[in-house]
């Protein structure tokens, strides 16, 4: 059961990473523009690192928040909260017509590029979109930790409900949660980087930016759809975990 959900979260993280990497507004197009401006492939490649880092930071913020909340909230509450946040964010995106930061400026250094990517990813709700996976993962980690914990306590002859081991359990969970979160962020960003990098090089070297005119479908619509689906699934699994208790 745990293995199954773990492999599901790997697939989800990679798929979402690829999805984020596809979005021209979140990185690869900026890299291509810099290449065209400087007339060399190197400029495209150099831009990819900072963009990926900014994206990872945006995802990282979500992972840290979920990880911390996971310490104090049970998985079902975390799922309900995450699902609600996703749906509200989707509504806000629609109400504000998918507004994102009004960034003017093509000439940015690496540090500013990180900031730009972080802002764009955050404004698009990229981190939020990962929350269901992270919450599920935190649930898994918690379950594993809890069962280990229970076993340990059982051997010691205490009731599973007993408190004394609680603090040590938190620290343990925090450590495991952190590792899992970092792995999740890394995995997601790697997938994003790969897709973004391939697209950037392909468009710069072979296809040309004219492709934008035909192929750039409105990802905002798909994006908000993804947010709603993620929100609904998360809420649903939250409810389920209450009902199935």
């Amino acid at each position: 059961m745990i293995e199954l959900s773990a492999s599901w979260s790997v697939i989800s993280l990679v798929a979402l990473g690829a999805f984020h990497g596809l979005n021209p507004a979140m990185g690869w197009l900026f890299a291509v523009a810099r290449g065209l401006q400087e007339r060399r492939l190197r400029a495209v490649l150099v831009a990819l690192g900072p963009i990926a880092l900014g994206h990872a930071l945006a995802i990282g913020v979500a992972a840290v928040v979920v990880g911390l909340l996971g310490l104090v909230l049970p998985a079902s509450a975390l799922l309900l909260l995450g699902g609600g946040a996703l749906l509200i964010f989707a509504a806000v995106k629609v109400a504000t017509r998918f507004r994102h930061p009004r960034w003017v400026g093509m000439r940015v250094g690496a540090r500013e590029l990180v900031l730009w990517s972080f802002l764009m990813a955050t404004a698009h709700g990229a981190g939020l979109m990962i929350v269901p996976v992270l919450a599920q993962q935190s649930d898994t980690v918690a379950t594993v930790a809890a069962s280990d914990h229970a076993e340990h306590l059982g051997h010691a002859g205490h009731a599973a409900q007993a408190d004394p081991g609680g603090h040590a359990g938190h620290a343990e969970r925090l450590g495991e949660g952190l590792v899992a979160s970092l792995a999740a962020v890394g995995l997601h960003t790697a997938a994003m980087f790969l897709v973004m990098g391939m697209l950037a090089v392909l468009v710069y070297r072979k296809v040309g930016v004219d492709v934008l005119r035909r192929a750039w479908i409105n990802l905002d619509f798909i994006w908000v759809g993804a947010l709603v689906v993620a929100g609904a699934v998360t809420l649903g699994s939250g409810f389920w975990s209450i009902v199935a208790g």
Partner: protein, 508 residues
């Protein structure tokens, strides 16, 4: 009692209750989402599935755009008889039976606006990667009244031949939110719609730029954060690839509204400088003086290719010899510099042929009042409103322009005719617009009402003409295209889908 133990205490019945309440909460959330969607309908811009087909990532691809079939032309009523100015829709499709005629017009709400330059709500800069949002339509014309300071938003859909006013921004609102008046030129920027303004509401300075929201067309405020020594203002445009804004200088409202003032001109009080700005931080970075004898610095035409760092600007009249100048600005050792690359001399004339203002000089100044650079940055068109000539230069080498074409029409003294309308014609080539593919050139003949009276005191009969340009240089009048506006005065021409002075690009 913690949450988990509370959960465990729930009987199956209670669990169903929790589920019911949760579902109710979900319903409220969904309703909230829907009402948010409903509220968003108040904005005018509509999201689309694919980018507007008139957006092009690079000037190179914009050159391949299909030929325009409609043109929007500002028509000014100079008669002060209560009739409003209008936006006319002109058929420019050579295959159409209505070719070269007005097939639709929208009279504005109030008389006396004096429409000048207007622009589109959205253009190719929507594809710029830093804040890309290309899934909108090039659909609304943003139309400032130079005399009234009012601003209209005009919808060209669903019937492009029957545009409608959808929003009017009154001068009081612009003054309150920006401190500016006398809106003039509009450019769609990557992050908003930029509008230039000649000055302050009291008729003084400084002039500058204000920004409208892309979606709602609300006035967002003044653009400048730090204007340095800039005070006079006229045109603006940018090098998007270099985060650089350029602005030019004409005069404050009180310096220009009643006509050109000889004492200001002879005192070299009109604008003669260029200003360079950090587009991103909205700060003035450098002033380049073109020499105070080069009076009135108007139209800025930066290279469309975002990787290039030069552009052209016209100076209307030189105090030395009444000549007009075209300056090139360029990057030089990390800062901006400018040099005169074209000088067009005045033409000697008999005193009795000249209007009172020019009699003492016994010459007609060329009065270069508008210029236009083709989208491929190869040809520069220069309107000589005084002498009645349109010149074409090959500026492939921007430092060494070569004249490749010239046509004559109107003019203060010459009053040259047109193949389809024998002279005398008055007014002269003024607003010049070039199609995206560079093959067609449109010209109108009025400048600014009070200035028109000084240089063409017998009045101006408005006309719009079209020229065919040879891709290798040279141009000639289209004999089928002479649109007579009678006593009305056409000004800015905007081509459907964009033209050489509407769009800026982020990809080289």
């Amino acid at each position: 009692m913690n949450y988990q133990s509370w959960l465990r205490r729930l009987t199956p019945l209670n669990r169903r209750k929790v589920l019911k309440h949760s579902m109710a909460a979900g319903g409220v959330l969904a309703a909230g989402t829907l009402s948010a969607v409903g509220a968003s309908k108040e904005t005018l811009a509509v999201s689309t599935w694919t980018p507007d087909p008139t957006f092009y990532p690079s000037p190179r691809s914009a050159m391949k755009a299909p030929a325009e079939t409609l043109a929007y032309v500002a028509r000014i009523n100079p008669n002060g008889n209560g009739q409003s100015d209008a936006i006319c829709v002109v058929d420019v499709d050579p295959a159409s039976t209505a070719y070269g005629t007005v097939i639709g017009e929208l009279e504005l709400t109030y008389p006396g606006d004096e429409l000048h330059h207007f622009g589109w709500n959205a253009c190719s800069s929507m594809l710029c990667p830093t804040a890309a949002h290309p899934h909108v339509q090039r659909r609304y014309l943003i139309v400032p009244g130079l005399r009234s300071s009012r601003l209209y938003v005009i919808d060209t859909q669903p019937d492009p031949t029957n545009p409608k006013i959808v929003k009017t921004i009154e001068p009081e609102e612009i003054a309150a939110k920006t401190g500016y008046s006398k809106g003039h030129t509009v450019h769609c920027g990557p992050d908003g719609i930029y509008v230039s303004a000649l000055g302050a509401p009291d008729g003084g300075g400084p002039g500058g730029i204000f920004v409208l929201d892309h979606d709602t067309f609300d006035v967002r405020g003044r653009w400048e954060v730090d204007r340095g020594d800039q005070y006079l203002h006229y045109d603006f445009w940018w090098h998007l690839g270099y985060d650089t804004m350029i602005t030019s200088e004409w005069g404050t409202p009180e310096m220009v509204e009643t006509g050109i003032q000889p004492e200001l001109l002879l005192g070299a009080q009109y604008g003669h400088r260029l200003h360079f700005w950090d587009l991103r931080r909205r700060r003035h970075t450098q002033t380049v003086d073109l020499g105070k004898e080069n009076q009135i610095v108007l139209e800025l035409r930066p290279a469309h290719d975002p990787s290039k760092t030069y552009g052209f600007v016209n100076t209307v009249v030189s105090l030395n010899d009444l000549s007009a100048g075209i300056f090139l600005w360029y990057r030089d050792n990390g800062s901006w510099a400018a040099r005169k690359v074209i000088q067009i001399p005045a033409e000697p004339a008999a005193e009795e042929d000249l209007p009172p203002a020019l009699k003492p000089f016994k010459a007609v100044p060329p009065l270069v009042t508008d210029i236009e650079l083709s989208v491929d940055d190869r040809f520069l068109y220069v309107s000589c409103w005084g002498t009645g000539e349109l010149k074409q230069y090959d500026v492939s080498d921007p430092f060494n322009p070569k004249e490749t074409g010239s046509v004559r029409i109107g003019g203060i003294v010459r009053r040259e005719g047109h193949p389809a309308a024998s002279g005398p014609l008055n007014g002269g080539p003024q607003m010049v617009e070039v199609s995206r593919d560079g093959k067609r050139v449109y010209l109108t003949n009025s400048l600014y009402m009070t200035w028109d009276e000084q240089f063409y005191p017998d009045g101006i009969n408005g006309w719009l003409v079209k020229l065919d340009a040879d891709p290798e240089g040279g141009m000639r009048f289209d004999e089928r295209f002479f649109l007579d506006f009678g006593d009305q005065r056409p000004h800015q021409v905007r081509l459907q889908g964009g033209d050489a002075s509407t769009d800026s690009y982020c990809f080289s």
